[in-house]
């Protein structure tokens, strides 16, 4: 570690820092300001400072808590399963087999597909009258009647979660695969000599060696998924009856309705929640580095 003072690191960081500060930081501060005002562009003459009023209304809003809960489910199940399947896929793609290159390329498909297409295609597949999922489930006799997945409050959200799991698998697979490349083969060979089983190798060598990669990708993915609107919006717009409305979708809908003060307040709260999630990781990383 270079501990002596030098301007070198600052130079290295400068380009990134300047871009971010200039382009995003200012609008974010602006949005924070809006959250303390009754900033509704449908009634611009009534814009005025209103202190914490927006926040108080948010806390009393039942839909806010519902959306928050949905967001938690969304992240836990969505990212959780993406992670598991992505990890498994990464392990499989590391092995040598014929056509590996093509399989790796093809695994990328969910990630390459534009969000609007993902939302619409899955909506089409889930359709209650012409959807292929109903058809398949009927053919293997798991269902005797078509289910309009996206029209029922108890099936719409799980359906959307499955779609986001589908979308996120390549991200984890690719990142973890890249991380796996850095593990020296000798470690495994030594373990084989000692007679270690597959599981032992996985938990004692693989996972610890890519610890940082795993943490970072999961954290980033959590932030990304928590904020994502595209897939849900194109599939259900948050319905039916708000059953698939996560907090980010709620913010989006309110912002589209031009109630910017209210949606800014919720956005700040969402950001704070994500900060809470990130803090343990930050503490952990910084402590690790210092040791």
């Amino acid at each position: 570690m270079v501990k002596k003072k030098s301007i070198y690191p600052y130079l290295l960081v400068a380009p990134a820092l300047i871009i971010i500060l200039c382009v995003v930081f200012v609008p974010v501060i602006n949005a924070i300001g809006m959250s303390f005002q009754s900033y509704d562009l449908r009634r611009p003459k009534e814009i005025a400072f209103c202190g914490l009023e927006n926040y108080i209304t948010v806390f009393k809003d039942k839909l806010f808590w519902k959306a928050l809960w949905k967001t938690i489910l969304w992240v836990v199940f969505g990212v959780g399963f993406q992670f598991v399947f992505g990890f498994v896929l990464a392990l499989l793609l590391k092995k040598k087999f014929k056509g590996r290159g093509a399989v790796r390329a093809v695994s990328l498909i969910p990630w390459v597909t534009p969000g609007v297409l993902i939302g619409l295609m899955w909506r089409w597949m889930y359709d209650g009258n012409y959807g292929v999922i109903n058809d398949l489930l009927g053919k293997i006799h798991l269902l005797d009647k078509n289910i309009p997945f996206l029209s029922q409050t108890n099936t719409a959200f799980p359906a959307v979660i499955i779609t986001i799991i589908w979308q996120g698998i390549p991200f984890f697979a690719l990142m973890i695969l890249a991380g796996l490349q850095g593990i020296p083969e000798e470690l495994y060979e030594a373990a084989d000599v000692d007679g270690a089983t597959g599981f032992q190798k996985l938990f004692k060598i693989t996972i610890p060696s890519i610890k940082n990669t795993l943490f970072v990708t999961t954290l980033l993915r959590v932030i990304w998924v928590a904020n994502s609107v595209d897939v849900i919006f194109n599939m259900t717009e948050g319905g039916p009856a708000y059953s698939s409305q996560t907090l980010s979708v709620y913010v989006f809908n309110k912002a589209q309705a031009l109630d910017l003060g209210y949606s800014s307040a919720m956005a700040i709260l969402l950001t704070l929640v994500l900060c809470l999630v990130a803090i343990p990781y930050l503490i952990f990383t910084f402590r690790e580095e210092d040791s």
Partner: protein
């Protein structure tokens, strides 16, 4: 190296791989056959292979006012430029964060992370004004700037994670051998880091490729990207399924091919010449 028995390989490799691949590929398959089905076959009894195959939709994408080719060009240009700019800036920054300790480091890292926690929909009006004042509106540069800003933080953290997993012993050995930091970076780190660079580059490319919210505001007909072109196929009177799915297929395939060539850089392990454990 022990040769695994075929049976073992079947259960530990081929079977799980096949299951996951079916899950991943089925929607793609469905998108494809929807694009070649005539409209009349879309509603009604479901067919797993079209009774009549038609390529009309693909033709219409390129010959009508949709101008999908133009949109693809724009998407590629924006994505590649964004990847180059973002990857360079983030590699420099994350190297600094990973290998140096300096005042303000932790604050900057936290800043980078929190930057992406804020929903982008609220930034639209101010950003539009900024782009307009800079004269960048409706030019690819506006998207490159916007996308770089949003991919930088994550890229910095991703690369930071990768850097931290790389043993320091490599660089130390090089330094002992007489290289300065810069040489050590280029000759030792970069090659080993290349899988991570590829992965991060892919992340940046994809984010730029798929983005819609900024694209629809900062582009016009001539400079619009693929997601905007696809959305234009959804009118008040319904979705043009044929063209939408055809557009999707055409969007997916070139990128997969590109990645096929890039993934060779995801080469295994530490190459010869590295320090042994």
């Amino acid at each position: 190296m022990k040769r695994e028995s075929l049976l073992k390989r079947f259960f530990t490799l081929y079977l799980p791989l096949a299951v996951i691949l079916v899950f991943i590929l089925f929607p793609f398959y469905w998108t494809f056959i929807t694009s070649i089905k005539p409209d009349s076959e879309l509603y009604g009894a479901i067919t797993y292979w079209p009774k009549h195959v038609q390529w009309e939709s693909y033709k219409k994408l390129f010959t009508t006012t949709v101008d999908f080719l133009g949109a693809m060009k724009n998407s590629f240009v924006v994505a590649i430029l964004t990847t180059m700019v973002s990857l360079t800036a983030s590699t420099l920054a994350s190297y600094a964060f990973s290998r140096y300790r300096f005042p303000g480091r932790k604050a900057m890292m936290a800043l980078f992370l929190s930057n992406n926690m804020f929903p982008t929909v609220l930034l639209l009006i101010p950003l539009y004004t900024i782009m307009r004042n800079m004269g960048l509106l409706y030019k690819p540069a506006s998207l490159v700037l916007a996308y770089t800003t949003f991919t930088l933080p994550f890229s910095v953290w991703l690369l930071n994670g990768f850097f931290n997993d790389l043993p320091l012993s490599l660089e130390e050995a090089a330094l002992i051998d007489g290289c300065n930091r810069r040489k050590a970076f280029f000759k030792i780190i970069l090659p080993i880091l290349s899988p991570c660079l590829v992965a991060t580059g892919v992340y940046i490319f994809m984010t730029s490729w798929n983005e819609y919210t900024f694209a629809v505001m900062f582009t016009n007909k001539a400079s619009r990207t693929i997601p905007v072109a696809l959305k234009s196929l959804i009118g008040q009177l319904g979705v043009d399924w044929g063209m939408l799915t055809a557009g999707g297929i055409i969007t997916i395939i070139p990128v997969c091919i590109m990645f096929f060539f890039a993934q060779k850089r995801l080469v295994e392990g530490l190459t010869a010449g590295a320090v042994k454990g």
